[in-house]
Symmetry: C2
Subunit: 582 residues, 2 copies
């Protein structure tokens, strides 16, 4: 189930910022994205060419359409553009979430987690919020916000509107802290002041942490810094990608000089001055278009998934950081982040009611020709027509006897690789089935004049050894899944051959006959209920395995090769039978 | 590199259709999404509440901003709303792509692959294209389109505008074929007529295929139906999730009755009447909001990635089908598809310049406490201070001798599990290194009065057996990656201990000393260049492995458990040394 998240922001035609960045970020977090557009921009990586605002009435209508139909678990607001749209957003949200009489004032608790990114000016200098709207944003939106996420420029602008310090430029961690604390007086539950424009080193972070700790020491509230995410702490410092305690070997391997590394530092203040500092290395990159939109959207997505504010901010800063670090060059100016860095495309489609076997379907489709050559082999066709030379069938039976020993041993390896009693039991049951089959096999052989002694004495053909030893190799080389796939070509193939022959028997032109066919029992064995049940069980195991532990693209390719090899070895087994090869 | 795709369409606030569906679909295909908005809608799963159109000038401006900055590899158009916006789209695209004098007429070849989804009316009955705009869409947009993707209702409307058949309802595959052929006269390069509103069974598909084949037979152009995607064919039929040739076992396992299964059939016609039929089971679902938007966006994304039109349409129909089949209920009406069904979130972040070891960082962070208990064990601290009782160190040395045998054997299993000469060689080199170390080990033991004979005679402690046998079990149970992780706690831990002790020695208050410490050589061995180089190589192998074959969430959890267990067994090894346990 994807939690639904709402962004209320501008549209960036070039896709790197605004609701586009938000929707991509929501998708990257597995959330369902909805969006209310306050203004269209004609924009690209070089700047904002023009803005086309939505009417405040239409902003309200969009909000109503979304919140009245869909259960929204987190909201973020971005570019609101002007005073009327600011008001419209606040009114529509209050109207929906505070409709009970006790909550008319718009108390925070009535809203889903709401992240207000107070977007004012674009990186390229374009006004994204009219100056006279700042006061409305502060008075109307901040009080309903779980968190506001200004950068230092926005913080200066907001603080100056309320005659709060620092009036001068915010250019150090100390002035960031003062600014963040003063922003806390403006009504939001928490403040994240983003330090992307401030230069800092590890020594600055340590100094800030020490001064924060001594403050709390003074008030008898000291807690350890850099603790592992517990929310009891008053002061926490997260150093991301900076190789903390007991990570000397990683630092040594990386080889960088920690002390001189330029850092980006964000400061989060929650109620009662609980302070969290997020430090990470600065990445020299021009792919920073939409960084702020992305961060606030990621915080909203993480909160929608139930994370605490600190964990949500921490995850979001890491997500955004990697998005910058892995971005490809797009456009001619400040390009977008890579929003999809944490996603992989599944190699196997999800199971649906109409196809419970998507993985097996893919395997067969990927090696369709060799699979067909196996299932519709001349050996099989002649067997179906009853024209197969008995000597060939007997040769096949003898070699199959040898093969079944490998097959049973491979299942023993599978049992040894299993970690639950269910899977140990299921592999073991197959061994027992094979051993019981051996008696039938012997009786069947006797029917064709082959004694038990002759069976044992038979020289093993190359095809048998190749196939059998390959199964054992798969058991040695890989994990349980790989061995299951190696064993699949035999299990499925004989089942398919059985059903295919039975279907051919319905078409007179195929020449396949059942009545009077001396190989009828063989056909009935593999098309019969018992064997087909085993096939069904095997299919279920392999599909469940592929769904529970979806393979990466490279692992999927490896699995396809294993399947193809197994199918090929099966086909060669028929060749061997037909050509009486050793 | 993500190919950039542009959608020109309306905005759906509820996120299931319009540019929102398109952006999600682009993201699901790993494409970079850009979007030009022709109109905002206040919309949810129950219907369209209102529309707020963009001005045609602003539509043009958005298109210019995108195409002049970003290299667009495919375009899709959706809801265009009115005549002026239709014209604006056509003009802006022509202006950019046909600016050379030879191409003023707007010939198709000048454009990136362009998919025109001729959205006219919403499922809920809301007008999304003014009736008087249909002619403009036909005359201006169809000629620049690689493909148009009407449903049967839209096809009827479009055909009636040009007085083309069928004038009556399109309600059979035969009438669909006539409609699709007539749509081909309107200027697009290809037509995909979507049969979501037409009821069909497998017999209908077979009849259609037969009649198509006999047409081509008549004209001497017969090609096999249902061939494996070759583009040479004149007629192709894809049966998705319908268990084709040699898939009897899947059909048997599924158990459904193929003949009575209700199908959805789409018909694609390309130049010269090359016809492809896409059939799949109909899913009974109300999660169909935005199906058309999603399909055309998926076709555009697939073409952006270089697929042929047939392959792009085939992939897109499968993607959309599974999107319906796996949708969760969102909203109170016709809910959106699951756009993210083919994505999963990576458990390990991508490697970046500032953190080349994201996987190892995560492993350490996930078991931080036990890792710290291992690295900063009392045994280690006492060893660093030189206060460790010699008898404890000797006990440790003897057991380490036993352990190294297991360690070497585990690397032998690793070699046996490797498939390249590089990885076979690297594992084998480690075995050779261990065997050479054994001599140093013996000399070191002699220094503490332990003879070689005593070393061999020593009883193996439980901690040694547990750790050693566990390593071998990991080698038996899992694949190469799992064994590598099992071996990692030892390799990294001793390196970390060496560096940690050296760092402590710089802090007088730690009590750790190097000068005159009788265990100095041990410390120097593990903090020394040779061992640290081995650590660096090991880190590189494990990170490359995790990046090349990213683990699924369940596999990642399994790996974390393996790491934690290895770390715990290391910690218990120190316990054993300190407590002189057997």
């Amino acid at each position: 189930m994807q939690p639904a998240v709402l962004t209320i922001a501008g549209s960036d035609s070039s896709g790197g910022a605004g609701i586009q960045a938000d929707l991509k970020t929501f998708a990257a977090h597995g959330c369902y994205g909805t969006s209310v557009i306050t203004a269209l921009t004609a924009q690209n990586t070089t700047g904002v060419q023009d803005v086309f605002p939505s009417s405040p009435e239409f902003v309200k209508k969009q909000i109503q359409s979304v919140v009245e139909d869909i259960d929204i678990t987190a909201i973020k607001t971005g570019m609101l553009f002007d005073t009327d749209n600011c008001r419209a957003v606040a009114q529509a949200l209050k109207q929906h979430y505070c409709s009970s009489t006790t909550a008319v004032s718009g108390s925070r608790s009535a809203f889903p987690p709401t992240i207000c990114d107070p977007v004012c000016v674009s990186t390229s200098g374009h006004t994204l919020l009219h100056p006279d709207s700042v006061d409305i944003m502060i008075s109307e939106l901040f009080p309903m916000s779980t968190l506001i996420t200004p950068n230092t420029q926005e913080a200066s602008l907001i603080l100056s509107h309320r005659n709060l310090e620092p009036s001068t430029k915010i250019d150090s961690l100390e002035s960031m802290l003062i600014a963040a604390r003063n922003l806390m007086t403006l009504g939001s539950e928490a403040v994240l002041l983003k330090g992307g424009h401030v230069t800092a080193k590890m020594a600055d972070v340590d100094r800030l942490a020490d001064s924060l700790c001594s403050e709390f020491e003074g008030s008898g509230n000291k807690e350890n810094e850099n603790s592992s995410g517990s929310n009891k702490c008053q002061v926490q410092v997260f150093r991301e990608g900076l190789f903390g305690e007991n990570m000397e070997i990683l630092q040594a391997g990386y080889g960088g000089d920690l002390a001189s590394t330029e850092l980006v530092v964000d400061i989060l203040i929650e109620k009662e001055r609980t302070t969290t500092v997020f430090a990470r290395p600065r990445i020299g990159s021009s792919s920073t278009h939409g960084t702020g939109c992305t961060l606030s959207a990621a915080i909203a997505a993480n909160m929608a998934m139930g994370k605490t504010l600190v964990d949500a901010v921490r995850s979001a800063t890491i997500y955004t950081h990697i998005g910058i670090g892995t971005a490809s060059k797009i456009g001619h100016g400040h390009g977008p982040l890579n929003h999809l860095h944490a996603l992989y495309q599944a190699s196997v489609p999800q199971r649906t009611p109409s196809n419970p076997y998507p993985f097996t379907t893919l395997l067969i489709e990927r090696s369709r020709d060799i699979w067909k050559a196996y299932v519709e082999h001349d050996f099989v066709k002649q067997l179906g027509k009853g024209t197969l030379r008995e000597v060939c069938f007997v040769h096949f039976l003898k070699q199959d006897y040898k093969y079944l020993k490998y097959y049973a041993r491979a299942y023993a390896i599978l049992a040894a690789k299993s970690t639950s009693f269910t899977s140990i039991g299921s592999a073991t049951q197959t061994i027992i089935n094979v051993i019981e089959e051996i008696d039938t096999h012997k009786a069947f052989c006797a029917q064709f004049g082959v004694t038990e002694e002759e069976l044992e004495r038979t020289e093993e053909s190359r095809a048998t050894t190749a196939y059998g030893a390959w199964l054992l190799d798969m058991g040695l080389q890989g994990d349980r899944a790989k061995l299951l796939i190696a064993l699949l070509a035999c299990l499925l193939g004989y089942g398919e051959v059985g059903l295919w022959l039975k279907k051919q028997a319905l078409r007179p032109e195929s020449g396949v006959i059942l009545d009077g066919n001396k190989y009828l029992r063989w056909i009935e064995d593999y098309s019969g209920e018992a064997y087909q049940e085993a096939v069904k069980t095997g299919l279920e195991i392999i599909e469940a395995q592929a769904a529970a532990d979806p393979p990466s693209p490279s692992r999927f390719e490896d699995w396809c090769e294993v399947w193809k090899r197994g199918t090929t070895l099966e086909k060669r087994f028929w060749d061997m039978g037909l050509n009486l090869e050793y």
